[in-house]
Amino acid sequence: MTSYALFLGCTIPARQPHYELSARKALPKLGIDLVDLDNMTCCAPPPLQSIDLETSLAIAAYNICLAEEADLNIVTLCTGCFESLAMANTMLKENNELRERINKILSNAGKEFKGSKEVKHYLQVLMKDVGLEQVKSQVTNPLNNLKIAAFSGCHLLRPSKLLRFDDPERPRIFDDLIEALGSESIWYRNKLKCCGGLLRGYADDLALQIAKEKIVNAKKAGADCISTLCPFCFVALDMGQLQIRAKFKEEYDMPVLHYAELLALALGIEPKELALESHKIKTDKLLQKIV
């Protein structure tokens, strides 16, 4: 077993039990031990970076310090958390002046960022620690009939200079992991384009317009579902479809599943254990296709 400090963030534990359950059930099956550390705070994502960049770096660094003290690397489910923590980790490791500035702030809380740990998204852990072949070999319920529109969300890939996850214009990791489950990762128009999720709450109409385009493009390409990694993308595209129905009188009925849910299903975990009822767009028809 490889142990990681699980950084859950704010949204997943508060609102997306289906994501947390599927990750907590699937990852240990592949030899990933998830450790819940005490004291973790918000990761300091874009909303907080918008308020004050220095504060957000200090908060991200505080959380990394907790993992350093526990001698564990961090794994995140949420791509927003991945971005905030991985960006801070790289910036502070590589910029001495900035590290000193942030450490001065952290000293008030009795912490010092040392730069001794890694921040990874769980797709990286699956790709590097577990390996594609091992994932394939553990699949007992292949998702053979599914055409999946992968949507990684922006903050898994960009800014690539700091995140160093995959090629930002031609990524493959997410698609390869989808295909490891037996399903097809399909091409669709503007695949890498943002879902508009972060505009929700400030400019809802624009956010919905951007999300709608994503759903329409996946539908046109013949997708059975969209697969996400980020809880904000999930809300924009899942809840978003109810809002699209109300506003545009258009119905797409496009299920949105986090990759961890697809992984759990492919590993043979029972759908009833995964809180799939928390989806706004029902997954029943999709399940019929795979079970």
Binding site: P13, P17, A58, G201
Partner: protein, 170 residues
């Protein structure tokens, strides 16, 4: 429209360059790769990253800081990824928002985020209903954030000096 200075090194652009996130603004040569890569600019003419950089370089401080365009960036980093001059555009937008917020232009949703951080250490509050649901699903109780440590951190940064009030944004 009047500008403080008709030069690309206005007082405002210097202010931005000397702040965290704003360092690269002056490298911009206005090619427009950012605007053509921007998903928001595709759906509204109210937002254009090239225009925001241009006005900032020319010193249109009031227009930028008190206006609402900087809040329409969806932080996707497409512009930053593709900028041939390596202007960290999304980060520059954060810097502009940081300045705006310090001067009291705080959209309500950001007031809510700040309250979440100050009160619970998280931007999405956990309802009693969610806690009960977690128990039903067999998920472990949510571990509380270390508010003592967090408050000390907030106290040591400019976060603690910001006035967060709803309904004040312009």
């Amino acid at each position: 429209m009047t500008y403080e200075e008709k030069s690309v090194s206005s007082k405002f652009s210097d202010e931005i360059r000397h702040r965290l996130g704003g360092e690269t603004i002056a490298f911009c040569y206005q090619c427009g790769t950012c605007a053509s890569s921007c998903p928001v600019a595709k759906v509204t003419d109210k937002y254009n990253p090239r225009e925001i950089i241009k006005l900032s370089l020319l010193g249109a401080r009031k227009e930028i800081v008190a206006g609402d365009t900087i809040w329409l960036c969806c932080s996707c980093y497409n512009c930053q990824e593709r900028c041939p001059q390596e202007v960290e555009i999304a980060d520059v937008i954060y810097t502009l928002r940081n300045i705006a917020i310090q001067e009291g232009n705080v959209p309500d949703i950001y007031v809510a985020f700040a309250e979440g951080i100050s009160n619970e250490g998280r931007i999405v509050p956990v309802s009693k209903f969610a806690e009960k649901k977690r128990e039903e699903y067999g998920l472990p109780p949510i571990k509380p954030a270390n508010m003592d440590a967090l408050r000390k951190i907030l106290q040591a940064t400019s976060f603690s000096k910001i006035q967060f009030k709803k309904g004040e944004a312009q």
